[in-house]
């Protein structure tokens, strides 16, 4: 149940089940199978519909747009999420515009996949979590891979939609095991799920029932895995009880599960690896501060990486990026 393999199997199933699915991306064809090997084996079995492209991120997105407008379901890999910058015009001025500006007469359900994030020493241009800049693009869904969401469900859902999506995959997830809920548990934590109609699911994780938790932690992607460990440890070692909410969809965001949790705990910590300022957590803080104005015990804590480049040096990188230590510290403060 290695995440990279599961994701590859998901894409394989998409290709097998739906003849409209086309995979595009740099170096995604066999034998290489992509920089992170997610697509390995797929071009061998679906040579027409799994295509290595030239190094042209803008055109990858643009050709995907055309495919989608023509009824296909392109899933394009942008080798490093850092290079999503080169697709920004296509995403903002083309892909997400068509359906709305054409009064619903066209659809452009492009899915962009982007291996993202740091902690690997790849340096300033190969380690970023740039998804925050795509949040709030009208008509764009931003979705994050995590270990508690089955990629099969996510892609099945995305392929049901006619709207475009950006799916970010933190690189550190690839070698990890998917940890889906079994019998209401994930590892040492209670697990349950919330799905508002039309929204992708969020997962709740906590050591004890919500009523006994004094803080809500909202996190996605790899940071959600880090946060889960923190939540588990704080419960075991310090009897600090937190409920972790892990959404799969970051924007538009289904705030209901967060609101439900914070209504009980009275306190919120948001966690993300992107840089601080105008970030995912910012919107969470704004929304929850508004919705639960009188019920918040204390201000929302936003945990994000420093507003800076991601250094190459391991030491400097890990002090610049959010790690378990920062999460731990924030949860302790906010649980009080």
């Amino acid at each position: 149940m290695i995440f990279a393999k599961e994701l590859g199997a998901t894409l394989r199933a998409c290709l097998a089940d739906d003849p409209r699915v086309v995979l595009l991306g740099e170096d995604i064809a066999d034998p290489y199978g992509g920089a992170f090997k997610v697509t390995r084996g797929l071009s061998t079995d679906f040579p027409d519909r799994v295509r290595t492209t030239p190094i042209s991120e803008g055109a990858i997105a643009g050709v995907s747009a055309g495919l989608a407008l023509a009824g296909y379901r392109p899933i394009a890999e942008i080798m490093f999420g850092d290079f999503l910058t080169l697709t920004f015009d296509q995403v903002v001025n083309h892909i997400t515009k068509y359906e709305a500006m054409y009064a619903g007469q066209a659809h452009c359900p492009v899915i962009l996949r982007a291996p993202s994030g740091g902690h690997r020493g790849y340096g300033p241009t190969h380690s970023q979590s740039l998804e925050k800049h795509f949040l709030g693009v009208p008509h764009l869904r931003v979705v994050a891979a995590s270990l508690v969401h089955d990629p099969r469900r996510i892609f099945a859902e995305l392929l049901q939609q006619t709207s475009p999506a950006l799916y970010v995959e933190h690189k550190l997830l690839y070698p990890e095991n998917l940890t889906l809920a079994e019998n209401g548990r994930i590892g040492g934590l209670l697990a349950s799920e919330h799905s508002s109609p039309g929204a992708l699911p969020s997962v709740f994780l906590s050591a004890v029932p919500r009523e006994r938790c004094t803080v809500t932690v909202l996190a996605y992607g790899y940071q959600a895995a880090l946060a889960a460990r923190v939540v588990e440890r704080l419960a075991l070692e310090d009897e600090i009880f937190a409920e972790l909410v892990v959404p799969s969809q970051l924007a538009p965001m289904d705030w209901d599960p967060v609101e439900r949790s914070v209504s009980a705990t009275g306190s919120l910590v948001t966690v993300e690896e992107g840089t601080a300022g105008w970030s995912w957590g910012t919107e969470a803080a704004a929304v929850i501060s508004r919705r639960l104005f009188q019920r918040l015990r204390r201000p929302v804590e936003i945990v994000a990486s420093d507003s800076d480049i991601v250094p190459s040096s391991k030491l400097k990188e890990s002090s610049m990026l959010v790690g378990a230590d920062r999460i731990d510290a924030a949860v302790r403060v906010a649980a009080a």
């Binding site: 086309v22 027409d48 519909r49 295509r51 492209t53 030239p54 042209s56 803008g58 055109a59 997105a61 643009g62 050709v63 995907s64 747009a65 055309g66 495919l67 989608a68 407008l69 023509a70 009824g71 296909y72 392109p74 015009d89 296509q90 001025n93 083309h94 515009k97 068509y98 709305a100 500006m101 054409y102 009064a103 007469q105 066209a106």
Partner: protein, 307 residues
């Protein structure tokens, strides 16, 4: 002409019984008068926003659309009215759209530069439509159809990197894409000489893409060229380029023309309606002009009456 929106008016789109020469003249005249009417509606304050007329370039649109079929797709740019009218004949839908009406072809949301109808789309951001058109061509290739994808770009748009990224992919994958590059000598206020180094033709050929280059405002010449290119594209796969040297007679958008008056005047002598109009008798021409005029006037009345 691929697909029709709403009720077609043969006074604008042509009659089965008329000669090729009459038909082509009528269709160009239609576009010309539509745009001139539009500009005067702007001047009268009846329209807001902006618009880019293709006065002087009507022959390109008409020539290309003559050879498209149902299933083919046209992607156009900011200067899309002529392309859209030649493709669809839908004058009321377009005018209502530019008037911002619900009855417009995009319910007034898109406006002048953002038109969508079956087999047709446009977007006002330069360059980015080219990969989209290539994606549509790829869809055709994957589904085994012999439909083609056509994209119109201007000389100035050769400044955008997206064009080259796409030429490379289209050539590598042999996509059934026809790029129609309308070199009208200017990009907004900038002459080609200040915008473009080297050779337009070689820009495409460097990717191994065949280029048919034609310096003409004669719709018959253009029609022949387009016919051959489109036939070749369907027969052999693509991509191909039709590079047309022409001229924009009006300002870029509205009231923004600093070009030398003598240059513009000289081009009025060889504009498509003059060049092709000579092939008709005065009576034939007058008859068409009158019927187009009446039809355009009906279009305006109809569009004004819509919600």
């Amino acid at each position: 002409m691929a697909v029709v929106q709403g009720v077609l008016d043969e006074r604008l789109t042509g009659y089965a019984r008329e000669s090729r020469n009459e038909r082509l003249y009528r269709r160009m005249r239609f576009i010309r008068r539509f745009e001139e009417t539009l500009l005067s509606l702007f001047d009268q304050g009846e329209l807001n926003g902006t618009t880019h007329a293709c006065i002087g370039q009507e022959a390109d649109a008409v020539a290309v659309m003559e050879h498209l079929r149902d299933g083919d797709h046209v992607f156009s740019n900011h200067r899309c009215h002529g392309h859209y009218l030649a493709q669809s004949g839908d004058a009321v839908g377009l005018l209502a759209e530019i008037m911002g009406k619900d009855a417009g072809v995009c319910r007034g949301l898109g406006g002048s530069q953002h038109i969508c109808a079956p087999g047709f789309k446009s977007n006002g951001v330069q360059g980015g439509i080219v990969p989209a058109a290539a994606g549509i061509a790829l869809a055709n290739q994957l589904s085994g159809s012999d439909a083609i994808s056509v994209v119109f770009i201007g000389d100035g748009t050769l400044g955008e990197g997206a064009v080259y990224e796409t030429l490379n992919i289209a050539a590598l994958w042999r996509l059934p894409l026809l790029v129609v590059c309308e070199d009208n000598a200017w990009a907004q206020s900038t002459p080609v000489s200040a915008n473009l180094a080297g050779s337009m033709r070689h820009r495409f050929e460097a990717f191994g893409i065949p280029v048919r280059e034609i310096d003409s405002t004669d719709v018959l010449e253009l029609d022949d060229a387009a016919a051959e290119e489109i036939q070749e594209l369907r027969r052999t796969g693509g991509p191909r380029v039709l590079l047309i040297h022409t001229y924009r007679l009006c300002h870029h958008s509205k009231n923004d023309d600093d070009r030398p008056a003598a240059e513009v005047e000289a081009r009025w002598l060889v504009e498509p309606l003059v060049v092709h109009g000579k092939r008709l008798t005065d009576t034939e021409r007058q008859a068409i002009d009158d019927s187009v005029e009446a039809a355009i006037s009906d279009v305006v009345t109809t569009a004004k009456g819509l919600a």
